[in-house]
Symmetry: C2
Subunit: 206 residues, 2 copies
């Protein structure tokens, strides 16, 4: 066996949660999809469905963080880095047939009223992503507060645009928001303080 049963369960659960949400995904379905049996699932996750979901969301969160980090590091200019994130998200979303959206949103919204551990894991994932954006901006010379506020905005806007893109089955919302976010970032650079040399760049829009 190439991958461990536990890992297969986590990966399958992550994909199913991303597509169908928490209540919409059954334990038996997860087991079937992971080519495992119900006994195995409860063996590795005595905490039941919620424990599986927590592990799966944590996994998805780290996976998305890696994607984000890659897109951010691929561009020197922070504004272009943000549009690059949006383009990447749009492309992946289209490829999946508009169904593989944000891996935490659906599960988070469903478990808000409860005192589940799930929302806590979702909050950690969100904060982690904001941290990635914030660090990138700090490295580009943004002030601590500007970086934090922009990071909240970037992650929030991408999150919302992703939902809009899924519902309308179009890349346009994500691409548009990516452009506008870049403009917002540049509005800080214009009056920026202590920016590294050359960071204002050639102002190419693509």
């Amino acid at each position: 066996m190439q991958t461990s049963t536990r890992d297969r369960i986590v990966v399958a659960a992550a994909r199913l949660l991303q597509r169908q949400g928490y209540v919409g995904t059954g334990i038996k379905q997860i087991a079937r999809e992971a080519q495992a049996t119900l006994g195995s699932v409860y063996h590795f996750f005595p905490g039941g469905k919620e424990a599986v979901a927590v592990a799966a969301i944590r996994h998805s969160g780290e996976e998305f963080a890696a994607l984000l980090r890659q897109a951010l590091d691929g561009e020197d200019d922070p504004a272009q880095a943000v549009t690059s994130c949006a383009r990447r998200l749009a492309g992946d979303l289209r490829e999946s047939g508009w169904i593989d959206g944000c891996p935490v949103t659906a599960a988070a919204l469903e478990t808000l009223g409860t005192d589940s551990e799930i929302q806590q894991v979702c909050a950690e994932a969100l904060r982690g992503w904001e941290r990635l954006v914030s660090d990138k901006l700090l490295r580009c010379g943004f002030s601590s507060q500007d970086a934090r506020e922009l990071a909240t905005t970037v992650i929030g806007a991408l999150e919302g645009a992703e939902v809009t893109a899924q519902v309308t089955r179009s890349e346009e919302p994500l691409l548009t928001v990516g452009r506008q976010l870049a403009r917002l970032v540049r509005s800080y650079e214009a009056r920026g303080l202590g920016l590294p040399a050359g960071s204002l760049g050639p102002e190419t829009d693509r």
Copy 2:
């Protein structure tokens, strides 16, 4: 009887869908909450659960549109109008104990894979809200394309910030995004063309 049974069903379904999503809300629960019986529900909605959800989401969409319209019309400056929306959303969200979020997001995400009519209604609601913002910007002298792109961004960002605020149980994401969106809108006004007299206003930040 003050309100009709049908209306009670729609209102109860709308609130439950907003809080628990589509799969998480049962027909019997809707009937109980609406002080109706299962027979009444199927009498008014022969289409079953999905038909109830469609009517409920449509209702929620119009309700939210009214809130949006009110917040937008309350301010002359479009930038301040946007922050006003964010503040209003943040306040309402806090008052509800962080559970009454966007009325369409949860239901939309859960039914994406299916060919349900629900996602279509959600798309209509989103487009309607964007239209409200876009019209406001047009009235303030923005170009057609700028208004459209900004409207997509504003609605998307508010959507995402609302989710973030719910998950982290804090008004801060919504308020921050509201501020940044205002800045983005002003970045157009600064180089704006053909703005109505006085629309640049006194530049107060609150």
